[in-house]
Symmetry: C2
Subunit: 310 residues, 2 copies
């Protein structure tokens, strides 16, 4: 089952050095979730050949512009392209008012159903749930209400061993029961689930951390997850400025990854003052070796090969 | 004196075919005026090496998103970059409310003075005046309040003939009076302005037409001007759709240029349905030969060489 993150933009605040404000696509199975939507996100989607029509859920971490100024343009394009399917937007309070005000002045009456869902940012809340995935908020420590998002796969069904279905000519409902762990009778034979199935791959979990200052309490809800995207707005030496602006250094990102025992770390939300990103990477790597830079246009598997401690 | 237009975006509605929504810089003498500000304008400025700090006046034709969704991002960047100088924004009613609402939710208190100036869109109004230029609204025929803008140079001062200043050792105030057409006495000699000066080049005028349906009454205020930027959202055959959506065909743009007797026509606001622009150009050229496509990143002199009727 596909579970990966496509980076559309991984810069902070101002678009510079050819980098763009925050936006990413979390692709799980058949679903494409848009997480944050900085200015120009719809152009980035076009550049990376993302089919925007596939997106049904958009998660906005907070109402600083570099995380949502591209939303109104994307919604307008959906409208002009005669989108039919409903769209769900999850955000802190205020976004619906901002969007609707602009549609009022442009005299736009949307041709598709748009649903706003508000989260407080104070506690973990489940925003989305399907048979295979839940998406929850992760309250951040930022200047205004702000959440990250936790994409947690559910444990999948067991897998039938090769040849079993054919040998017993099993009908679909029987297969389903075996995969759920139930034993079944078929043609006077009892088939035991534990004998004819194998365990599914362990469920994977991805956390998108939005803007936040360092706070080790943030480690607890992401303990042991597969992949953590964490902001790295500053290099060490600017901890005071980071704390003042409610942002983190690359070293702090690595420290949190270490405390949480995550498997891999992805650095993003790069400070505009850094034309080169290697120093951010190196600083984090010294603390937490399984770290990569979130480069625009690149896809990162959530379920990465087990870390080999080099 | 420089007087030219740099195209940042010349597409309509949706960013496609590598084209971007409306934005352009009118550069007159030492001033850089931004006209409309579609999504991604600040990135387009960076791509074309426009120094955004030089802009002190922004003109927004109307509140359809492809003409202003980039404004909030640009203002935010000015704020983050610690802009000091005041900025003036001219628009129909509503923009201040839209901008301020977003700054309220992001808890942004601008570090530079921002002044909003509202025009009704019903009559021609002078928005800006300097010693060398006036900028006025041009009411359009669109679905919501919408104006184009007329950039009219004032007649310049006469020019002193070469060598005159040196021969008579004229002090600066005397030169100024002669250039204003006044005769002066200097060292017991009367210098006659008409004898020691030549006429300045004739003042040039540029009109930016925003979204509008065809209406020949729009020709009158732009009679005989040097350069007209006119929308060309459709090709002929779609006149009904153009009228319905309050837009124009390329042929209608040419017809208006012809009726107004402008010297040159620049086609823009290209319909997203047209990956190739040549058909729009050819359609206009059949009616009005002095026409060009407004290509992004290109600069167009307002005072172009006199048309040679080929």
């Amino acid at each position: 089952m596909t579970f990966e993150v496509l980076i559309l933009g991984s810069n902070s605040s101002i678009p510079v050095h050819g980098r763009h404000p925050t936006a990413q696509i979390v692709h799980h199975d058949e679903q494409y979730f848009l997480v944050d939507c900085g200015e120009g996100t719809q152009m980035r989607m076009a550049a990376f050949k993302v089919k925007r029509s596939k997106i049904q859920h958009i998660f906005i971490s907070h109402l600083h512009g570099d995380h949502y100024f591209g939303l109104i343009g994307l919604l307008t394009s959906y409208h002009l392209l005669q989108r039919q399917t409903p769209l769900h937007i999850y955000s802190p309070p205020g976004l619906e008012e901002i969007i609707n005000l602009q549609f009022r002045y442009s005299d736009t009456r949307l041709v598709f159903p748009l649903h706003f869902h508000v989260f407080s940012g104070q506690t973990m809340e489940t925003l989305y749930e399907s048979d295979t995935l839940t998406i929850s908020t992760l309250p951040m420590q930022h200047r205004i209400p702000c959440c990250g998002f936790l994409f947690r796969e559910k444990k999948g069904l067991k897998r039938l061993k090769p040849g079993v279905a054919e040998r017993y000519r099993l009908p679909t409902p029987m297969i389903a029961q075996l995969r759920q762990g139930k034993n079944v009778w078929w043609n006077d034979i009892e088939l035991k689930s534990e004998e004819v199935t194998t365990e599914p791959p362990p469920p994977a979990t991805y956390a998108f951390f939005s803007d936040t200052r360092y706070d080790e309490r943030l480690a607890e809800p992401i303990a042991g997850i597969d992949l953590l995207y964490h902001e790295a707005t500053f290099l060490s030496g600017l901890e005071e400025r980071a704390a003042l602006t409610h942002h983190s250094t690359a070293a702090q990102a690595a420290l949190l990854a270490q405390k949480a025992g995550v498997k891999h770390l992805l650095l993003g939300h790069f400070g505009s003052r850094y034309p080169e990103l290697e120093p951010l990477l190196n600083e984090a790597k010294a603390i937490f070796p399984h770290v990569q830079l979130a480069l625009e246009g690149h896809r990162y598997a959530v379920r990465q090969p087990a870390p080999s401690l080099v």
